[in-house]
């Protein structure tokens, strides 16, 4: 009787989706995405389009703007890479080991998420400024932890950490240790097990975590402006340039810088998505 019922249900499920309303939900999704994301973004493009091409080109290729792009993308990339390595270590300890205070540590990970970014900036400044707790000890060695690109990287690393940890945790929990034991029984040493089994298994999550941290770092403003010092050509990030253009009432100029940021970011996200898709195809997971 039970089995019969089960069969009936699965037949039904095959011919029809479990929940009705594909058209309704799809329509809603498109509308919502348009209202929240696409329309504001296209407004940005329209604003930038009010400039003529020469002005646009001049704005986005001026030395100050290019320097800001380079700094923003470079610092974000470095911060995301640091987070991918060290965030993975944090996630590993939290998932694999049971120790007193683990729950507390787990909760602390989310703090950079939850804090207003300006507060983060002030907190970082208190520590890394030339007179700060850590900054004053590093300054004699010529290491400037604030008002320098290093300071920006530190701030971006701070705000990006939760993205990597939270993305990796479920993947690590799924990695139950049996595959590692199997590798060990086949004669693999720890190094081989790490590089050939653990890292490839975590690759999709590492990539996602990296992308999220990177994207977050690109758009960060609040915490960075405190530690950056905002010296043109040296420690001025793109977001700050946009704000200062707006302060000068140069809205099309701000939009132009933003459009380039947006396009490059979108391209990077697309490439990462493509790598994900390709790797899943390669391992039969898609």
């Amino acid at each position: 009787m039970l089995e019969k019922q089960g069969k009936f249900m699965s037949n039904n499920a095959r011919s029809k989706a479990m929940l009705p309303g594909f058209r309704l939900t799809m329509g809603y999704t498109l509308l919502y995405l348009s209202l929240i994301v696409l329309i504001p973004l296209s407004a940005l493009f329209l604003k930038a389009a009010t400039m003529d091409w020469n002005d646009f080109y001049e704005t986005i290729t001026s030395r100050r703007v290019v320097a800001a792009y380079r700094l923003t993308f470079g610092a974000s990339l470095i911060a995301a890479l640091i987070n991918t390595v060290f965030g993975a270590l944090v996630a590993w300890s939290i998932v694999r080991y049971r120790f007193p205070g683990r729950q507390l540590l787990d909760a602390i990970i989310d703090l950079p998420f939850a804090m207003p970014t300006a507060v983060s900036g002030i907190a970082l400044m208190a520590i890394y400024a030339p007179t700060g707790l850590i900054g004053k000890h590093l300054l004699p060695y010529g290491i400037k932890t604030a008002i320098s690109p290093l300071g920006i990287v530190i701030a971006l690393t701070f705000i990006g950490l939760p993205f990597v940890v939270r993305t990796l945790q479920p993947a690590l929990e799924e990695l139950d240790g049996e595959a590692e034991q199997a590798a060990a029984s086949l004669g693999a040493n720890r190094w081989q097990t790490f590089w050939r089994i653990i890292v490839p298994s975590l690759m999709p999550s590492l990539l996602t975590g990296f992308t999220l941290a990177f994207a977050r770092a690109l758009g960060e403003y609040g915490s960075v402006i405190f530690v950056a010092g905002n010296i043109p050509m040296k420690t001025e990030i793109a977001s700050l340039l946009i704000i200062s253009k707006l302060d000068d009432a140069d809205v099309p100029g701000a939009a132009a810088i933003a459009v380039v940021m947006l396009s490059v970011t979108f391209l990077i996200l697309l490439v990462v998505q493509g790598i994900q898709w390709w790797s899943q195809r390669m391992t039969g997971r898609a």
Partner: protein, 358 residues
């Protein structure tokens, strides 16, 4: 490869998984570790593999061919280990999974690429999955995955093959096929194989010897025939297949059930002791009329004809339920109907007097 385990204990916190286990496994043998979950069978297998280290004890030893390997890590023991849930490397193709054990060898011992390819292809052939080398584990059925896991373990030419409930996650039909295939593979490869299972039918069918385990101890070691027909304890007879339990008493040195004398005499046992009488469903006969003193009255409560034998449930006058297996011909002859009053008679019984057998 002969393996000898001496005085091995293992506890996890306050839980004792193995209690002073000693066991000798002969070269070329297929031996099963059989027991319910929590009996310690998997822990024993993992101790042999080197994935679990036994509790420190100067007398304990794990000997492979006389050599103590108790402190050797798993990678140095040359054991092929197969997990219940396959533990295949999901990001690698079937080919790379099987080649893994060869690829991770130190450079000086690593076979050439062409030798690896030949080896993997011969193993794919052995597991009847030629042409599946480029597939990924996700694209295989459970039975196919377990065969790949076995090939992967065999690639390193292990001295001993350790299987941890390898067919536990598969459905009954696939399981039976793989079980027979494993037996012929074992004979062909001439390895020593240790199989952990909780399925008594599987253990009795494929093994040369069965080790019945219960509560961290070995209850009995013997050929399938012996453990089935000469069970050493109540646990063993109860665990190996269906059995009816009657509660009798010892009277004048004889175990007695109602008014029937069962089993051999126990002269040393005082009268009035409880005797547990175990009778297999096919060791009971059913008659329409009482056969002298030695039968008990019973009522038929259920007849199940689905199977090779008919399974009859009956209720004794003491309200105890019993089960009797009769052949289809017998069922025809008896013309049994639900509610019929009949007489049952145990032909063969095994008696345990609890306080005197332990």
């Amino acid at each position: 490869m002969s393996i000898e385990i001496k005085n091995i204990s293992k506890s996890f916190g306050s839980f004792t998984a193995l209690k002073d286990i000693s066991l000798k496994i002969e070269n070329g043998e297929l031996i099963s570790l059989l027991g319910p979950s929590g009996s310690g069978k998997t822990t024993l297998l993992r101790v042999i593999a080197g994935m679990e280290s036994p509790d420190p004890n100067p007398d304990s030893q794990v000997l492979f061919f006389g050599e103590d390997v108790a402190r050797k890590p798993v990678g140095d023991r040359k054991v092929g280990f197969v997990f219940q849930h396959y533990a295949l490397f999901k990001h690698m193709s079937v080919f790379e999974n099987i080649a893994f054990g060869l690829r991770v060898r130190p450079r000086s011992q690593r076979p050439a690429e062409s030798a690896i390819r030949d080896k993997v292809h011969s193993l794919l052939n052995l597991i009847q999955l030629e042409g599946f080398g480029n597939r990924f584990p996700k694209q295989l059925s459970g039975g196919q995955r377990q065969r790949v896991a076995l090939a992967r373990a065999l690639a390193i030419e292990p001295q001993v093959l350790l299987l941890d409930e390898p067919f536990g996650a598969l459905d009954a039909k696939v399981r039976k096929g793989l079980r027979d295939w494993l037996r012929s593979l074992h004979d062909e490869l001439n390895t020593t194989t240790i199989l952990v299972t909780h399925d008594q039918e599987e253990a009795l069918e494929v093994s040369d010897r069965v080790v019945v385990m219960n509560q961290a101890r070995i209850e009995q070691v013997g050929a399938p025939d012996d453990v089935f027909h000469q069970p050493a304890s109540e646990f063993v007879i109860d665990f190996l297949g269906n059995v009816n339990v009657f509660h009798g008493r010892v009277n004048q040195g004889q175990p007695v059930l109602e008014n029937i004398q069962v089993g051999g005499s126990r002269e040393s046992i005082p009268d009035g002791e409880k005797a547990n009488v175990y009778v297999r469903p096919n060791d009971i006969s059913i008659d329409r009329t009482p056969t002298g003193k030695s039968s008990m009255a019973a009522t038929v409560t259920r007849i199940n004809r689905a199977g090779v034998h008919a399974k009859i449930s009956l209720e004794l006058s003491s309200k105890e339920e019993i089960r009797v297996d009769v052949s289809m011909e017998q069922l025809q002859e008896l013309h049994l109907q639900l509610g019929d009053s009949v007489f049952v008679h145990p032909n063969k019984a095994r008696v345990f007097v609890p306080d005197f057998t332990i």
